[in-house]
């Protein structure tokens, strides 16, 4: 399993930024970037997000590896859209015609996804999951949802271990996955067993919680404080996002 928090280890100002402000910044940036059409705005958004990555001193190699996933999907768009989007012809590939507008459209999607992902990696992955949950609680996300999130996150690792135990025991008995009903039945029983074990575990966990005096409330430590430099970064981001909005609606033409 590739569940780790390697980016959360660090001590730059990006890491120390208040998680509540980080979440707000990412959401604002994601919204304007996701609906924005203006090319200069999108390019500047990518630059802003990259700036946060650089400021957080994250390894570009690891960041690019993470970006690979979305760009794989975007690659699919590049295969189709330039050739199916109507517009003036840009170049020909055999019987297919790539339109100028189609290329611009695909480019826009590429910039958008990468800008948002970069911002998320730079701002969210640099906080511990527990801090993010605390921050979400203070941003009025329903408590039940946060408890649910907390438990899922807590138990994914446990269940993943349980799964690899089950999987190893199947492999040790000489199971070779193939395209046949026997393999599918084996996988189905693995999934079924995993569900049953998890269900039983959840009963034990709940009883253990009751035994420790659980009364339907989790106490999440909340000791955030917004420093002056946090406010400065936040205001600067808000100013930049307003600048993006002005470019987008055409108040400023670059």
């Amino acid at each position: 399993m590739m569940i780790n928090q390697e980016f959360a280890e660090g001590s730059t100002w990006v890491h120390k930024l208040d998680p509540r402000l980080k979440i707000l910044m990412v959401v604002m940036l994601a919204i304007i970037v996701a609906v924005g059409e203006s090319m200069p705005m999108l390019i500047q958004a990518v630059l802003l997000a990259s700036f946060f990555i650089v400021a957080a001193k994250l390894s570009w190699k690891k960041v690019l590896k993470r970006l690979l996933v979305i760009n794989f999907f975007i690659f699919g768009i590049w295969i189709f859209i330039p050739f199916t989007y109507p517009g003036t012809a840009l170049f020909y590939l055999g019987p297919l015609t790539a339109s100028y507008e189609g290329v611009i459209y695909a480019l826009r999607i590429t910039l958008r996804s990468n800008a948002i992902m970069l911002a998320m990696i730079a701002l969210l992955s640099t906080s511990e999951m527990t801090s993010l949950l605390q921050a979400m609680k203070q941003l009025y996300i329903p408590e039940k949802l946060i408890y649910l999130f907390f438990f899922v996150y807590r138990y994914i690792h446990v269940i993943a271990d349980e799964f690899s135990t089950l999987h190893n025991s199947v492999l040790n008995r000489g199971f070779k996955p193939r395209t046949n009903l026997h393999s599918y039945r084996t996988y189905a029983y693995l999934v079924g067993m995993l569900l049953i074990k998890s269900y039983d575990r959840s009963n034990r966990v709940y009883q253990a919680m009751l035994a420790r005096g659980f009364k339907g409330k989790l106490y999440i430590r909340d000791n955030f404080s917004i420093s002056v430099s946090d406010l400065l970064v936040f205001s600067a981001t808000v100013v930049l996002i307003s600048w993006f909005i002005m470019i987008e609606v055409g108040l400023i033409i670059i």
């Binding site: 199916t84 189609g102 039940k144 995993l194 569900l195 998890s198």
Partner: protein, 204 residues
């Protein structure tokens, strides 16, 4: 199954978000405090199970299991998928932040339909031993969930931009084998659960 960031237009994103929020609200409202650990740990199990790659000829496909999720979790499937998708986004960079609503709807709507379908067959078959009947219902649910998810995905893409038609066709065709695998797997999982731990299907 998910749509990436930056592809859809604002009206679709907003509609998706509003629908998802309503679904999550219904789910949270019907979830008692004592159910939180149960929903969470089953969600974690489904999250892990969805990382399994099942061989299919020369390639492999990963499981989706939203039919099973619906059958087991009922309306809790909305908050469950929201949490699972946020975790996928934070841990693996799958999906996207602004498309979260659309992706939750894409996964959870078929799950809810499967929930009601399976529940009605389940109530019908209380009297006699009916492993085959429920297995058949699970087979249909597993396949149907993929069909609906794929159609929502293709429809939403085409609403965003007409020239996605070609891409939507490819998406639909490439999900046909997934459909078969999900139907078979869902049937086998439900039959297994009925034999080993039927409470799991009655709880929610």
């Amino acid at each position: 199954m998910h749509i990436s960031e930056g592809v859809l237009t604002a009206p679709i994103l907003v509609t998706g978000a509003v629908t998802a929020v309503s679904g999550v609200a219904v789910g949270l409202k019907s979830m008692k405090d004592c159910q939180i650990p149960k929903v969470a740990i089953v969600t974690a199990a489904l999250f892990v199970a969805a990382l399994i790659h099942v061989p299919l000829g020369p390639t492999s496909v990963h499981l989706v299991l939203n039919g099973i999720a619906g059958i087991i979790l009922g309306w809790q499937v909305f908050p469950a998928f929201l949490v699972a998708l946020v975790l996928q986004l934070l841990l693996f960079q799958f999906g996207g932040l602004t498309v979260l609503g659309v992706n939750v709807v894409l996964m959870a709507t078929p799950a809810i339909i499967c929930y009601y379908l399976f529940k009605s067959v389940f109530n019908l078959s209380r009297q006699q031993d009916s492993t085959y009947l429920l297995g058949g219902a699970a087979f249909i649910c597993g396949g149907l969930a993929i069909v609906i998810s794929t159609l929502i995905m293709a429809g939403v893409l085409m609403l965003a931009e007409d020239s996605f038609l070609q891409l939507a066709r490819v998406i639909i065709v490439s999900h046909l084998p997934v459909l078969v695998i999900e139907a078979v797997l869902s049937m086998l999982v439900v039959v297994f659960l009925l034999r080993v731990k039927p409470q799991l299907l009655e709880e929610f």
